[in-house]
Symmetry: C2
Subunit: 151 residues, 2 copies
């Protein structure tokens, strides 16, 4: 396959709505879709961990895998929260995100710190510390959703 | 905050549609939403790399970051392709995914191998090898979309 074919295929793969962001800023509706995709996947991987807090069997392999995924995912949404997305309909993101970026950054950092604790705890293999970190992630999710998302 | 409050908050955070998968299999529509979320994010992070192949300035930091994200993301979609999702409307996934799982697995492995090459090349810091790996990822995207997704 030559390069032209690869590029054409990739452009299709990425979908008509996707700007190649090395060239141009993605469209607001794409940014919203991308950051919501991260939230969907954070839900996918925190869900089973919360399950373990609630009595599902503890599985250290699932903890380690999900911790690694959450470490990547929890870095991904933030560059999608830019002022150009303020007028979008399909989002519950509140204007305070843009009027108080310092407070929003603090909420991001709270999640990143909690996920960092989970990664460290999962490597150390201590179930109690893992569970405390899962609780801290829950608090970080709740804090951000309480303050920066429409009810 | 006590545990009960954390759990209630998280359940809300995860959304009404999210089963806690440690307890029960996620609903088909949730599985479709989750795997599509991965595709959205793979697009977000491969886009700028393809841009570099097409002439955007080469940025080794972006390459390293996106390679790490793609390494996580490219492991995430596959457990969402389960037979219970065959009847879902909002997906272009073809039935061959379920009738020829070996061929589908091969396509997954092609992507994983290409992403592995990108991660290795980005660590070695060789621009030529990085660009070859980006091309291979493009081929893997195209191969899977050509064979397993409705046009």
């Amino acid at each position: 396959m030559n390069r032209k074919v690869i590029f054409a295929g990739l452009a299709l793969a990425l979908g008509a709505g996707y700007a190649l962001t090395a060239f141009s800023q993605a469209k607001p509706e794409v940014l919203v879709k991308q950051r919501q995709a991260v939230m969907t996947l954070q839900g996918k991987y925190i869900g089973p961990l919360v399950g373990m807090l609630k009595g599902a069997p503890y599985d250290a392999n699932v903890v380690a895998r999900n911790a690694a995924y959450l470490d990547a995912l929890s870095q991904m949404p933030w560059d999608g929260f830019v002022e150009s997305t303020k007028g979008e309909k399909n989002t519950r993101a509140l204007p305070v995100i843009y009027s108080d970026p310092g407070k929003f950054k603090q909420a991001q950092d709270q999640l990143r710190t909690a996920v960092g604790s989970l990664v460290a705890a999962s490597k150390a293999g201590n179930e109690g510390t893992v569970k405390a970190a899962i609780g801290d992630i829950g608090k970080a999710c709740g804090n951000c959703h309480d303050n920066f998302r429409e009810k």
